[in-house]
Amino acid sequence: MDLIILAVGAIFVQNILLAQYLGNCPFCGVSKKTGTAVGMGVAVIFVATLASIFTWLAYYRLLVPRGLEYLQTLVFILIIAALVQLVEIFLKKQSRTLYDALGIYLPLITTNCAVMGIALLNIKHGFGFVDMVVYSAASAAGFALAIILFAGVRERLFLAPVPKAMRGTAVALVTAGIMSLAFMGFAGMGK
């Protein structure tokens, strides 16, 4: 039950994009078409979960025993970058279909702050292993949900009569703000 609450909380209440404002660059950058948004979302779920497991292990098995917690940011960057590369190499050999489906989004995630953010939040919240896995997957799912919804809105927005000064990124950010407000409605759900 706790795990479900944790997952729902991570997806809706503490939505990584709309409540924590992490990962805004792909949110604006790859949200013009629903198709690409779905690709990005799936890639993030995949990488974030995997990255969280490795960073969590590195933190508690490597850094904490030596009192090197302050190195976490550096270490995490290193791990995520290496991991994404590794996953790419692995997928290319083992699952060509998945590799082709993720396409260019996989290497893009190397520099995604949502993935980094989830890894750091896991530590901040002091999660155990299972909690950490659930939270990471759910947060990434929250990212996917938000970006897909947002892409849907933007597709319609493109056809709408937007005043000149507001066109493009400006109106996208306003939309994101309104979506964020809407997601605040979920705040009452969790504890």
């Binding site: 190499i89 692995f90 050999k93 056809l159």
Partner: protein
């Protein structure tokens, strides 16, 4: 300090080793060419090619899923390098660039104005856009925002302006435009294009049998871009030097300017740009598509054959022309006299066509020296038959065997072969077409005392070019209208005169001309020593009876029968067009037929199926015909320099000259830009009416 450094270094080392091992274990045998091609691409990962990044594009190129020129940034240089890397040869082709169909200046009136309405696609959803014009640009600039290369900007006239230097032909604007007026145009597309009713077409463009884009080339001339003007003409007419001299300009008969003023001298302009190239003495480069490996035989080197050969070659096929006369040109060479189309000019023009890589064999006649079966055995994939209409129709007046009676075409042809022939005495030419006038003017130049043209209808019904009739009158040729020859008078088997009957015009016949009816007892004698009969021609189809010929059905006018839609005969690989299909017609009609046949043959040899042209425009579009037009300022038409009468008689000097550059640019400004300017006739009238009412009220 040592511990953290070691930890970080350790992690990095582990990661590096892990990656290294993974790269080993999970090594995927990749085509080494992927990397090679990827290195040649610019690495911008712009996605303009439609693939996710340059690596993906490189893979697609190596796999053959994309062309070597898939990269929209790298353009020709990159394509050439990639092709060289892959061991392919790149054939030069004209780059494909985006072209808008709507190039209008004055915008059509807005149906409504809606603040903040800023996207053509959104606008389209509301009653097909805010402007009255159904075809044209909405001018909200969606294509500008779609272009990743900054090649489109909004012009002063509220229409997008395309920069051909920046355009890479990626097609994002084409996908963005809801009106479908932008297209990525290659030479092949232009050659295969035929007018449709759904297009925004100027009347002259609709009327021209070859469908030359008249407003476009006139606009180029106005801007002083003579090379582009000529290339525009060549998109649909490979013989601008010849048409510029002999075409009777059906286009100018449709010119909208003539509602209020004289029509634009379209043909003078065409002649000017064509002569401009010849005066430079360097031929403009004509792009040819990569070889298709198909071979086409063209039988007959007249305008239809030359036109078909030219376009088929430009579409990438190997073309061979077979001509029975000693030189190419057909009626242009043997039917049109020197003073209208100097042979030097014709030779220069034909050489330009042959230079594209067309093989021509003269002095070979179908049915005598070769057969259709022979051509098939030689490996020709399709045959275009354009043998023309060279057989003179007779009058049926027992003229056989008489000395002093010559059929028109035969007369001109003989004259061409043996220049020293001199005509003496009085000559009567029967007929009212251009051939009759050519015969008359030729005999006058070669020593005839007096030349009379006998025609059974009136001057208005004469099918000859009006300019030719005027020139003939000026030169002193006598016309006897409404006179039909009834009997040939002869003495000792020599012609002495022609008996003619006076005619009256009756009811219009199916051709729309009034049928002449003889007046009984009105016989008169025209004394003459030579009678030239130029009363019509038909194809000489004697070869159909020879061996090795498939059975080709004929029409009731004794021409080769073919499907009107495709010009394909009952034998699928034989196509026909020009005079031998339609009966004697204009040169420009033959040129149009040649390109039309080239389109059909191209589809036939490549796809096997000839797609029909939907809504093909054949008649003038009613909506484009106006009764009146406002705001036209009268400007006199330029006149071609004409050789004085004294110089004309007795010589074969070219009678008409070419206008100079200044006149050409001036004449181009007389064009009303129909089909490129939005002009809402009804609204304009309503506006004028309102203005008049207002004036009347105030007085």
């Amino acid at each position: 300090m040592l511990v953290p450094a070691m930890v970080l270094g350790g992690i990095a080392a582990v990661a590096a080793v892990a990656l290294g091992i993974a790269a080993r274990i999970f090594h995927v045998e990749e085509d080494p060419r992927f990397k090679g091609v990827a290195d040649l691409l610019p690495g911008a990962n712009c996605g303009g090619c439609g693939f996710a990044g340059c690596t993906a594009c490189a893979e697609a190129i190596v796999r053959g899923q994309a062309e070597v020129n898939a990269c929209v940034i790298g353009q020709t240089d990159t394509a050439r390098q990639v092709a060289a890397f892959l061991g392919m040869e790149m054939v030069d082709n004209e780059p494909q660039i985006a072209c808008p169909d709507c190039r209008g200046g004055i915008r059509a009136t807005r149906k409504y104005d809606y603040a903040g309405f800023d996207d053509c696609r959104a606008a389209m959803q509301l009653f097909h856009g805010p402007t009255v014009c159904d075809h044209g640009c909405l001018g909200l600039g969606t294509c500008i925002r779609a272009c990743q290369f900054g090649a489109i900007r909004m012009g002063d006239e509220g229409l997008p302006v395309f920069d051909p230097l920046r355009c890479v032909g990626c097609g994002s604007c084409v996908r963005a435009c809801p009106k479908g007026i932008i297209s990525i145009i290659s030479e092949t597309t232009k050659i295969l294009h035929w007018n449709r009713y759904s297009e925004c077409l100027a009347p002259c463009r609709q009327k021209c049998p070859a469908q030359v884009n008249v407003p476009k080339y006139i606009e180029h001339i106005r801007k002083g871009e003579f090379a582009q003007a000529l290339m525009t003409v060549r998109e649909s007419n490979p013989l601008p030097l010849s048409t510029g001299r002999v075409c009777p300009e059906p286009c100018s008969l449709a010119c909208r300017r003539q509602i209020e003023d004289e029509p634009v001298a379209i043909n003078y302009l065409k002649r000017f740009v064509a002569d401009w190239e010849m005066a430079q003495d360097t031929r403009l480069h004509i792009p040819v598509a990569p070889d298709t490996g198909k071979r086409i035989a063209v039988i007959g080197g007249g305008p239809a054959g030359l036109s078909a050969a030219y376009y088929l070659r430009r579409l990438g096929h190997a073309v061979a022309i077979f001509e029975k006369m000693p030189a190419l040109g057909g009626m242009l060479r043997y039917g049109i006299p020197e003073y209208r189309l100097p042979k030097r000019i014709l030779d220069w023009e034909i050489q330009g066509i042959l230079d594209l890589g067309i093989q021509a064999t003269c002095n070979v006649e179908l049915g005598k020296h070769f057969s259709i079966d022979f051509l098939r055995a030689e490996g020709f994939d399709a045959i275009f038959m354009a043998v023309g209409a060279w057989l003179d129709k007779g009058l049926g007046l027992d003229e056989d065997g008489l000395e002093g009676v010559a059929p028109g075409i035969k007369f001109l042809e003989t004259y061409h072969h043996q220049k020293e022939i001199t005509v003496t005495g009085k000559v009567a030419v029967i007929g009212g077409g251009n051939t009759a006038i050519d015969c008359a003017r030729t005999s006058l130049r070669s020593g005839a005392e007096k030349v009379t043209i006998v025609y059974r209808r009136s001057r208005d019904e004469m099918p000859a070019n009006p300019a030719e009739i005027i020139a003939a009158e000026e030169e002193g040729i006598e016309f006897r209208f409404l006179s039909a020859p009834s009997r040939i008078l002869s003495e000792d088997n020599r012609v002495t005169g022609l008996e003619v009957l006076r005619m009256e015009l009756g009811e219009p016949d199916p051709s729309g001309r009034r049928r002449p009816v003889p007046v009984a007892g009105s016989e008169e004698i025209v004394p003459c020593d030579l009678i030239i009969e130029a009363v019509g021609q038909e194809p000489d189809l004697e070869f159909l009876k020879s061996e090795g010929m498939p059975k080709l059905p004929l029409t009731r006018w004794n021409t080769i029968d073919a499907k009107e839609e495709t010009l394909q005969t009952d034998v699928p690989f034989i196509f026909t067009g020009g005079d031998c299909f339609t009966g004697p017609g204009l040169m420009v009609e033959a040129i149009g037929a040649g390109r039309y046949a080239a389109r059909s043959i191209h589809y036939y040899v490549t796809d096997g199926v000839i797609p029909p042209i939907e809504h093909r425009q054949t008649d003038l579009i009613p909506a484009s015909l106006f009764d009146s037009i406002s705001g036209v300022e009268e400007k006199p038409k330029v006149h071609e320099p004409i050789v004085s009468l004294e110089d004309r008689l007795g010589t074969f000097k070219e009678v008409e000259g070419t206008i100079d550059e200044e006149d050409a640019v001036y004449e181009a400004t007389r064009c009303l830009h129909c089909g490129t300017y939005c002009y809402d006739h009804d609204l304009e009238e309503a506006r004028q009416q309102a203005e008049q009412d207002r004036l009347q009220e105030s007085t």
